[in-house]
Symmetry: C2
Subunit: 354 residues, 2 copies
């Protein structure tokens, strides 16, 4: 196990005796661009179908762990700290851990997965089972209570659609960040709104209520000042926080804001449709049913202009069997359920061999 020169992250292990009852635990992590959550659960039998019956031991929260946004060193430290916090709160330590499912945004390629896996290997004893996934996978599991089947659509600061078939095939769309066209995301919606304000100010775009609403929200007095505001801090979440302003303008009848939301609905629906088609989630005839787990601030907004509802309506025109699910537990719980399921499956297989 990793030893630190400064040692502060895992220091609690030296001071705390581990209670017998909490011996075997699993960790589920949801690492996003805005925050990172870690859930610690005991390895005991329980009903997966009832969120109320989940035997959670501890929950810890930390900041951004997307390495594309904050860099690798900061992302690693955030993830390690939040795991240590969850173990410490639950009265466990690393020797109690049996499995870890780390679902983190910015995992886009097997090399990302391998890099994070190597680094986890350095922290935990070698018998601990490690699973590294894109954070979309945890979000899916949070809606299906640990079953990897169907599609998840996340639209928060970023956006991604991710799907799995029952026989283990997977596909994704979007999730490529703000430079690579995630226009349905909170960041995408807000950047388009800011652009509309600049264009109206330049005299090359329609006048829009977005101008006064956004300037008022940000405490600026002129559209010129938006440029300085935008580049003063490159955080994606800061830009994405303007989504409620765009929704309010669209609700008040502003055409420009309305078009931005209509476009983002199409964009988000097209991501889901691409995944459903590639995996044939609705069967050959397109009439089958599939669960669509909907996650993220953009889809949750309980407003009269309801982006999530419009996305479902757009998808169901092509795939009438879409079955939308709003998860009752958070994605980190989904990650913990995944770790639980993976661990149980592998244990069973090994027991049947021996």
């Amino acid at each position: 196990m990793k030893r630190y020169k400064n040692g502060e992250i895992w220091d609690f292990e030296l001071e705390m005796p581990v209670a017998e009852s909490s011996k075997d635990v699993i960790l589920g992590l949801d690492g996003g661009t805005t925050s990172t959550v870690c859930i610690c659960m005991p390895i005991v039998p329980f009903s997966h179908s009832e969120p109320e019956s989940l035997p959670t031991l501890a929950r810890a929260v930390s900041g951004c762990s997307n390495h594309n946004s904050v860099g690798e060193t900061a992302a690693k430290e955030t993830l390690e700290q939040v795991m240590a916090d969850a173990l410490s709160k639950s009265g466990s330590n690393r020797s109690s851990v049996r499995a870890v499912c780390l679902a983190v945004s910015g995992v886009n390629h097997p090399t990302d997965q391998q890099r994070i896996m190597n680094w986890l290997r350095d922290i935990f004893p070698s018998h601990v089972r490690l699973y590294v996934q894109n954070d979309a996978v945890a979000a899916l599991a949070s809606g299906t209570m640990g079953k990897l089947h169907g599609c998840v659509l996340i639209a928060g600061t970023g956006s991604i659609a991710y799907g799995f078939t029952e026989d283990g095939k997977e596909a994704r769309a979007a999730g490529a960040g703000p430079i690579l066209g995630d226009w349905g995301s909170g960041y995408g919606i807000s950047a388009q709104a800011l652009t509309a304000v600049i264009k109206a100010h330049d005299g090359r775009g329609q006048n829009t209520m977005l101008t006064s609403s956004i300037l008022h929200k940000l405490g600026l007095s002129s559209a010129d000042e938006l440029i300085g505001w935008t580049y003063a801090d490159p955080s994606w979440a800061r830009i994405a926080a303007l989504v409620p302003v765009v929704v309010s303008c669209a609700e008040a009848g502003d055409e420009v804001a309305n078009k931005i939301l209509v476009d983002s609905v199409e964009e988000l629906a097209s991501c889901v449709k691409a995944v459903v088609q590639r995996l044939a989630l609705c069967g050959e005839d397109g009439k089958g049913t599939f669960p669509l787990v909907m996650v993220g601030g953009v889809l949750e907004a309980n407003r009269s202009w309801d982006i999530g509802k419009e996305v479902i309506s757009c998808i169901s025109k092509q795939y009438p069997g879409v079955f939308p699910i709003r998860p009752k537990v958070e994605p980190a719980v989904g990650a913990a359920l995944l770790a639980w399921n993976f661990f149980m499956k592998e244990s069973k297989r090994e027991n049947s061999k021996s």
Copy 2:
């Protein structure tokens, strides 16, 4: 004048006697997102209409000085170093300087101008005349040989349209950077091409030749890897360097690449048209002539798919009096000519008063 603890930037002044011939000089700077150029010229009479007759004393080059891209401290140091280099090369020092025109990208608001002005005041003696402008103003002057009249369109890594009337009114469009919709810029074209590759890979966009061309150019083996490549280094110029690949694909008949270029032509033309309209550069009837100075890698590309030519053709449909100019001197020379003109005008005015 500023004294440095480490003193290295202006150290040459202590060692070098100033030659009598180079007593009165002006500095013109063009500070861009990719590089910064400083020109040193003597204050002697010369013909402004002939680029060959310009009495340039020295030219110095440095890196990016857009404070929105590299931050304020780095931008300031770059600008100060390049001025010191130009003075040192010309055998002058700060006491020879009569006027400085600093035309730098990222100057979008009077507060930007004031901040840079204050900082220049700290470097030069108080009698030196200082002019701070957006870099587009120097580009315009490079085409009009120092006269502030007409419109300039810059499309390099970034894009901006900037115009002046003969009686001193000014207007701009775009120049708001990649987050705020400069889609006609080199960065905008490249980001759209990268997005098209991701969309085709996801199965939610048309297949395109851009995929193989861009992956080959970047030495990557799969579209998944583009995400890591894109966010590994946030430099705008690095993304913008993909423009020639997009042009080649469009020339080879690729529909997706062609549409990206067609859209960027419209975007660039709309910026110019907005400026021309707001300033009434073509008179009330829209039939008057105006110079349009065209600057930047995106417009200079000497290719069969000629973005610059298409932009002019698009503008001339609405404003047939557009008179395109490809400058024969660089924007830093334009800045020096501006400093020269401003200085002469003010001197004349003061002489006539006294």
